[in-house]
Symmetry: C2
Subunit: 220 residues, 2 copies
DNA sequence: ACATGTGAACTGCTTCACAGCG
DNA sequence: CGCTGTGAAGCAGTTCACATGT
């Protein structure tokens, strides 16, 4: 199978979410046009994205909702349970650890770690925060697949290396630094500051371009 | 000025963060090679990104750290204070509202809203959660620039339209749906489930390749 | 008739390679 | 000489348009 673009995989997630809704509402068939509308893309893009993985539609009709949903879940690897570690029991780590939506989608938080002695031992819902020094000795029994990294930027690289050394193969990185890890480790970055700065850039630019036209045209 | 790619703007944020660190450590000059290493890209990419906005370096030397930092802050529009609204006082909204890093970078949370009567009126740090029904009447006095949307998916579109109708021009959307808004509104999506599914896809794919077989097994 | 599936064209981001200048 | 700045080349992702199949 040839390599699939990141952007394609992201869109598959979006299609899947809408498909699950549709199935719940009893929809039988969905066209690429409909998927495109809800996914914020074009029908050609939808058909191209799906075509990388097979031929799921019926010409003249569209895609069978239930079958396509199952196919996407299979493609994305969502039929198994992934074991997730949360590293860093700060605000964001706390929010994520308690977010039930993850478990519903097959992402099971198996442990939460922090370096702060004041946080270690505290309990949330079903997790006791563990001391990060125990990371390596615990991993043999936890067999985590994915780590969510929410530690300060200046600790992120070091902690990431420990995680990889202990067998974690995928990291969702919330720290505002670029991690340098072996190529076989998959990393996705989520960087709030970067996103806000992107908005700041867009606003600044719009003001510079359209200087003076304050047409706040209202509701759609 | 011609249009700048989103990917370029994201990288400028990364360069800026590293530059600020460097300035704090007393570094005078930085090469494109150094910026590339820390930013996870190539030196040619760094030079190309910067060249869209001007000529900041000295040939044979590199970029003056202090001046380039100032230039990037100006380009990204970070020299003014942006007024940010947080909509949705759930786990993520709470974490963001209390995150001091935002304010340090010029993003000032001016108000927090929620629809849940149990949350309305509760206090955090310096904010009292307000009833979302008061949104429109408050906006005249708040003049928000950016809204961070952390409401459930099925409410996101409706709330986003209210925000836009009331003059918000940029939205950081945490809801797992694609917002359909007028083109002049800038939207950035942050979707945790989508990122985790991307990791799931990568892990699944690596396994399929490595296992070298069809017949995708059940979990574990 | 209608909507998918797909090669081909197109667009635009990235990489290359070197001229230009300190 | 070293490193920036930048046209040109290369490449990847998107869009087009139509043949294909129901």
């Amino acid at each position: 199978m040839k390599r699939i673009a990141d952007s394609t995989v992201r869109r598959l997630s979006v299609y899947l979410r809408f498909l699950e809704d549709s199935v719940n509402r009893g929809v039988r068939t969905i066209s690429s046009e409909e998927l495109a509308r809800r996914g914020g893309t074009t029908s050609a893009q939808v058909r191209k994205d799906l075509s990388f993985f097979g031929s799921f539609g019926k010409r003249g009709l569209g895609y069978p909702a239930v079958e396509l949903t199952a196919a996407l879940r299979d493609i994305l690897g969502l039929d198994r349970e992934w074991r997730v570690l949360i590293i860093g029991a700060g605000k964001i780590g706390t929010a994520l650890a308690q977010y039930h939506g993850f478990r519903q989608r097959g992402f099971h938080v198996v442990a939460v770690y922090d370096a702060d002695p004041l946080k270690v031992g505290t309990e949330w819902e079903e997790h006791t925060v563990r001391d990060i020094s125990r990371l390596e000795s615990d991993l043999a029994s936890e067999h985590p697949d994915i780590a969510v990294l929410t530690v300060p930027g200046d600790e992120a690289q070091r902690v990431a290396e420990r995680l990889v050394g202990a067998g974690v193969r995928a990291i969702l990185n919330f720290a505002p630094v670029q991690l340098h890890l072996p190529a076989q480790v998959t990393v996705r970055n989520v960087n709030m500051a970067m996103e806000l700065e992107g908005l700041s850039y867009a606003l600044t630019n719009r003001e510079r371009e359209t200087n003076g036209s304050n047409g706040v045209d209202g509701a759609a």
